[in-house]
């Protein structure tokens, strides 16, 4: 629908580009490309091998057929750029060293100057190269590592090697294999035992080249009794060619550690967003996935928690907002492998216009997981008569002592609610936006304030002219 696309394009206030010529751009998916990526990054031989093997795995694995339609994507793998190196000297330590054009980009994104904010550190990914990555001295003093994934490999190779691709191996799925072959950018985080990082670690990144695929890889290790909150917000400009984003996020939560991973993606609506996010939680540990999906053409993303140790806990809270032309297939997985583990999934989806939001979730309780508890709540809100939603809740319960709850609701934006709010002076659009925000409240109340504000603004934008 050209009219609708135009609307999206007009509304997409971050849809701009910079005039920066890349130093190196690698198109097409071949062993040659993979070798060049590894070479450009100056990687050790084992990583080059790993990448090449992952590429073979990628070619061997079938396209997933159980979810959204990926047939268009399948024809286009050779049209994407798999590596783009922007003209910069690589990771820098201070704000002054960040190139002016890039600073300008951040300004237009409305990102306040990192130095002035109460952020622990800002890892900003520009194209596939991290150009700015700062860790506050305080964090360094605590021994917290918060660097680009490339630096993580260079500076902390042993630690890196111990965890990398152990939670999400290349054989996990076709897109994990793809990422493993061509990964570039992302964060490496290590929090030493007992260290509690009070302020969230934040990373911003965006895609900036037509036809360019983004393959960020993040590895977070939270050691015993440590605590961290990692935040990632993605925004990207709108392009006419298909784009691909395939990320892999691995998180290891050690005994009694506490971690949280928050992300909101607002990719342009021509983007395939296929991400594998997985956490392993050891005894007494806790992990929260907080996941917001607004943009993209197709998203497939099911943040998973493997509850490996006794008493491990996890919560997965997610939001999906699918507009016309979008199919967001999102959900969560809870894998209970030990006794007394507990988990909760809250999924809130909104479908507008001809948008389609699907919930796909798995709760698996292994025979060993006595007294496991899991609760799944998925609610769908339909804005228009042609909006679509579907739910695929999978349950594999192999232990009789497990307590599993599942609730699913589907509702429509109700005329009586809108009229009620209108009689209190709220214009129709605002009334609709308020109802949508209320619907999402159980999830958004967990968001950091600036994210919640941002999300509410986006929802208002989306609801403009949507009713009546």
């Amino acid at each position: 629908m050209p009219e609708d696309l135009k609307h999206i394009a007009d509304d997409y206030r971050w849809g701009f580009r910079d005039e920066i010529e890349p130093e190196l751009a690698l198109k097409g998916l071949t062993p040659e490309t993979v070798k060049k990526i590894s070479e450009a990054k100056g990687e050790p031989a084992w990583m080059t091998e790993f990448r090449l093997k992952a590429l073979e795995t990628f070619f061997k694995l079938p396209m997933p057929k159980w979810g959204p339609d990926l047939s268009e994507l399948e024809k286009k793998f050779d049209e994407f750029y798999y590596y783009v190196k922007p003209p910069s000297r690589g990771p820098v330590e201070s704000w002054d060293e960040v190139p002016e054009e890039i600073k300008k980009t951040y300004e237009r994104l409305g990102i306040p100057e990192a130095e002035q904010k109460v952020l622990a550190g800002v890892g900003a990914q520009y194209d596939s190269e991290v150009v700015y990555h700062k860790v506050k001295e305080e964090l360094e003093r605590l021994g917290v590592v918060f660097v680009s994934i490339e630096e993580g490999l260079k500076e902390h190779e042993e630690l890196f090697k111990r965890y990398f691709a152990k939670i999400v191996p290349p054989t996990d799925n076709k897109f994990a294999a793809l990422n493993s072959a061509v990964w570039s950018g992302g964060s490496f985080v290590y929090v030493p035992p007992g260290v509690e990082v009070e302020v969230p670690l934040q990373a911003y990144f965006r895609v900036n080249t037509a036809g360019f695929g983004q393959f960020e890889r993040t590895l977070i290790i939270v050691d015993e009794g440590a605590k961290v909150h990692y935040i990632e917000g993605c925004t990207a400009p709108l392009y006419t060619t298909e784009a691909l984003h395939t990320g892999v996020i691995e998180i290891y939560v050690h005994k009694n550690a506490h971690s949280r991973y928050t992300t909101i993606q607002n990719w342009p609506t021509n983007m395939y967003n296929l991400v594998t996010q997985r956490a392993v939680v050891e005894e007494g540990g806790y992990h929260m996935w907080l996941d917001g999906n607004l943009g993209s053409k197709v998203t497939m993303k099911y943040p998973s928690s493997i509850l490996k140790g006794r008493g491990a806990r996890s919560e997965v809270l997610s939001i999906a907002f699918a507009k016309t032309g979008q199919h967001l297939d999102t959900g969560a997985k809870l894998i209970h492998q030990a006794p007394d583990t507990s988990g909760r999934i809250v999924s809130k989806s909104i479908s507008k216009g001809e948008g389609r939001a699907s919930y796909r979730g798995l709760v698996k309780v292994s025979p060993r997981a006595d007294r496991a508890k899991a609760n799944v709540e998925c609610d769908a809100l339909l804005i228009d008569p042609e909006s679509k939603t579907d739910t695929y809740p999978y349950m594999e319960i192999e232990n009789e002592t497990a307590q599993i709850g599942h609730e699913a609701t589907v509702s429509r934006l109700a005329d009586d609610q809108i009229f009620y709010l209108q009689t209190r002076g709220l214009p129709e659009d605002e009334a609709a936006a308020l109802i949508v925000r209320g619907f999402l409240e159980p999830v958004t109340k967990e968001l950091p304030l600036e994210f919640a504000v941002e999300l509410n603004r986006l929802i208002e934008l989306e609801m403009e002219g949507s009713v009546g």
Partner: protein, 250 residues
Amino acid sequence: MANRLEIQDLWVSHEGKTILKGVNLALPLGEVHALMGPNGAGKSTLGKVIAGDPNYRVEKGRILLDGEDITELAPDERARKGLFLAFQYPVEVPGVQVANFLRLALRERLGEEPRIAEFYARLKEAIELLDWDESVLSRYLNEGFSGGEKKKNEILQLLVLRPRYAILDETDSGLDIDALKVVARGVNSMRGPEFSALVITHYQRLLNYIVPDVVHVMMDGRVVKTGGPELALELERRGYDWLKEEVAGA
């Protein structure tokens, strides 16, 4: 004609059925009128149509607010001009906190962001008047409220938004006598030269506490009789049948 809410020869249909058949009614600013009548007379429909409910179709006639024809205006435009409808069945809006909702509504009412101090002063005063607890402010709008709490919440909104013209649609239904008194106290506190109310009720009971200046009686889609407060008492005593006969005979 300024400073009054006026209904002129209003004909309204709903799903093809004519419900209002030429309603005439005038509510001058500063007065409280009661609108009574048997079930199905069209009282609630009139309230909703004045507020702009899109489910009803105005076939003929006009609604004038301070002399301005508002018949075609959206419900929110009417509200911003000072009109308020206390719903018979208030609607639940999950996830929207009462305080946040009231702040947004007050912003629309005032046409600017309310000063925080003033906003809280209004909230506090209203909550005290209603014998309520501030904890209601952080609850979600009407969600999980009892029937009585929902009605009270309508009056809370009335007190905070301070409209010029309020329509109370059977606010008394489902209330026990204590709740009724609290609601009446809220409405009475608004009375003055800058406030009018049209109190729609089935029973005389509420009118013991909110004493109207004028009583209108509706039957079969029209206002058939208008009188003083004594008319309500007469209806309470004699029922509606005598009036039906009187109308039929006229």
